[in-house]
Symmetry: C2
């Protein structure tokens, strides 16, 4: 088994990514071809690939426009694929969002809008509400991030500063029927949260958004606060007549990707244990906890007996203290190297299913029992690299980065710890 | 089931503590009564209780001296129980260590020394090597803690500055036979690490201890460094003739306590899953990871189906930023409250099996689905208390502290997350 541990880990990752591939997942969720037009809109890291897959499998005429991240465009024939900035929005995103809102104007009840939504869509759908600029929204967003507001509070404010989020896109499509196909990268797979729910009713109100701003004393964000106080044009609420025919399908989720990897492990004679599809926490600390679990497998055959693989998804946090390179997954693995110190029989991989770990060119990296000794022989200190947040540099020097390029889908991070 | 979740969690904790009770564990490990004298020595949080249990069950005459933490003394008839400071050593510990070394002088091959070792013993056995003061040792210890040295490197230096650690106590007993009875509170249950292994051979050398000090540039610890350079009287090495007859028994371990709790859960119809007996990491981050696992049980029935309980042992870390009160377990639970936000059906408890969470009067605390709402109605913010490291204050206000007093044993922390 030992000699094939590395390729097995790579197979698990590839299976997780494949399970979220729009070309494989999307055909099962296509609605009936309408009597009228079919207009396609969408946003997210997978928007280009979803548009391409839809074109291939759609039996009728269609046209439309979607926005994806720079570098994530793919060839299409009928749907325009625009690119914009992520995670910090730019004017290209503002332009793309305006094009999307324009594309759904003047439709009838005989028409169909297919909305292709995936992770990253929130930043790419940068449509400030009338009277606001992108700079106004971004300033409030930064203030919220510093304020200690919960994610729910932040989303409430964001939706009320946007011309497209919180169900407004679906409302703009009325009276056309709206079918949303979603690839989830969020805990709980809530359609109202994925890309800030452009086609999902929003139960929160202007009054609540105002209360959040006042609670954290952010009234000095003058333009945004004034907009919330004016409180015109509320987001569509649950039961809104314009959205009652809207349908939402989750076509890919982190859990499905974990299940796909689990199946590959089972076929290889390895017991899979799925710990969670949306685990969070500081990356380096999660690694310490999981190192303890891996050792428990070795010492006591718990929580399951070896050979086994501990699988998890979800987005960790990296508190940046150093100046090194690398995303969440490299940081997680580097801490795991440090915690395990070459423990026998323990392998691991971690990667972002979108193919880009943070802002580097790698999807993730791989760890083997010999990583510790090989690093020492190269004069690489895991502790020093960890102090410098330099997971990328560490695994680059070892030749243990996993590079896939953009996968054109996104079900968040994937981690596998293999214990033989 | 719901109405009995709290008492069940308390039962699990009590079972974990009982599984490490010297009165229950020690009788199974008693050696033959010797032809000569039986001398009892020892150190640790459980030393008093172990001495008491030994007196009750020992069929022959005995005498001796052990040292335990202030407040942990219990009545004994033949064995003197001294008290000293923990975790920072004091002169009472120096005095007690000298008494212990004196007690094992002049023994013969017909005599038996029973050495009772438990967690905390390292601080209580404060015996500076000849020529050094307690202040010298403590200064070096503080410098090591700041230096980034690994625990293995620190222990190597500590053993070479001590007159009693690293096997020296066993060597002092020669030619008497030495039987050590240990209660483990360390990952891996290595007898050389528990209380710094006073009766276990030490493979490390003065040269290595010197190299550690030089590696981290701590030569300004003049007295301690000079002692390491003089390099006389090496610690007993594996194979040392004075220690070849020494025997070591682990009479209680964190794993055994987890297994005992698992049995109680099973009997209550709850599936236990032991995640690890020595999980480490920052307490608040471990809680975030485990909140994700608990939610996975609720949403996907993984890694096991509810009703289940996730059990773990091992010592977390708390990076103190605030001025609040509370130990590792209160911090863990407070972060769990914050991460779960009152998720339905999830209960938890965490406590130190020694009965003292950090430096407070509680062993731990308890969390229920209503904790979040009850805290809000009292105006208690979990986020604010977490920022202030005030887990004790939070659970005190809720009436949810678990108070046992010193349990007179110690198999480290115990955590249980119950998902119904």
């Amino acid at each position: 088994m030992t000699h094939s541990a590395r390729p097995l880990l790579r197979d698990l990752f590839d299976a997780a990514v494949a399970a979220a591939d729009p070309h494989l997942r999307l055909p099962g969720f296509l609605p009936e071809v309408p009597r009228g037009r079919t207009v396609v809109v969408g946003a997210g890291k997978a928007a280009g690939a979803m548009a391409q897959a839809l074109e291939v499998h759609w039996p009728g005429p269609l046209d439309g426009v979607v926005v994806t991240r720079y570098g994530h465009k793919v060839p299409t024939r009928f749907i325009t694929v625009l690119e914009a900035a992520h995670p910090v929005p730019d004017q290209a995103g503002v332009h793309a969002s305006a094009r999307i809102l324009q594309a759904v104007q003047g439709l009838t009840a005989d028409d169909l809008v297919i909305c292709l939504i995936s992770g990253g869509g929130s930043a790419l759908l940068a449509a400030p509400a009338p009277g606001l600029t992108l700079a106004d929204k971004q300033a409030m967003n930064r203030a919220l991030l510093r304020s200690g507001a919960t994610i729910g509070e932040m989303n409430c404010v964001r939706k009320h500063l946007s011309a497209i989020k919180g169900g407004r896109l679906a409302a703009a499509c009325y009276p056309a029927r709206v079918v949303s196909l979603l690839i989830s990268d969020v805990p709980g797979d809530d359609p109202a949260i994925i890309a800030s729910g452009p086609t999902v009713p929003d139960p929160t109100t202007f009054a609540e958004a105002r209360a959040v701003v006042e609670k954290y004393g952010l009234q000095d964000q003058v333009a945004a606060y004034a907009h919330l106080c004016a409180a015109q044009d509320e987001t569509p609420k649950p039961g809104d007549a314009r959205l009652v025919t809207a349908v939402t399908h989750l076509i890919a989720t982190p859990q499905q990707s974990l299940e796909a990897a689990a199946k590959v492990a089972l076929n290889a004679g390895i017991t899979p244990l799925i710990l969670g599809d949306s685990l969070e926490g500081e990356a380096r600390e999660m690694a310490v906890v999981m190192a303890g679990m891996a050792r428990q497998v070795r010492r006591h055959g718990q929580p399951v007996a070896a050979p086994c693989v501990l699988l998890s998804g979800g987005e960790t946090t990296v508190t940046v203290r150093g100046k090194g390179r690398g995303g969440r997954n490299a940081e997680f693995l580097l801490s795991l190297v440090h915690a395990l110190r070459g423990d026998d029989g323990i392998y691991a991989m971690a990667g972002d299913t979108d193919g880009i770990d943070g802002t580097e060119d790698n999807a993730g990296a791989i760890l083997a029992p010999d990583t510790w000794m090989r690093a020492q022989s190269l004069g690489l200190s895991a502790a020093d690299h960890l102090a410098n947040n330099d997971g990328y540099g560490f695994f680059l020097a070892l030749g243990d980065l996993i590079v896939t390029g953009p996968t054109l889908t996104n079900v968040n991070d994937f981690r596998a710890i293999l214990i033989l």
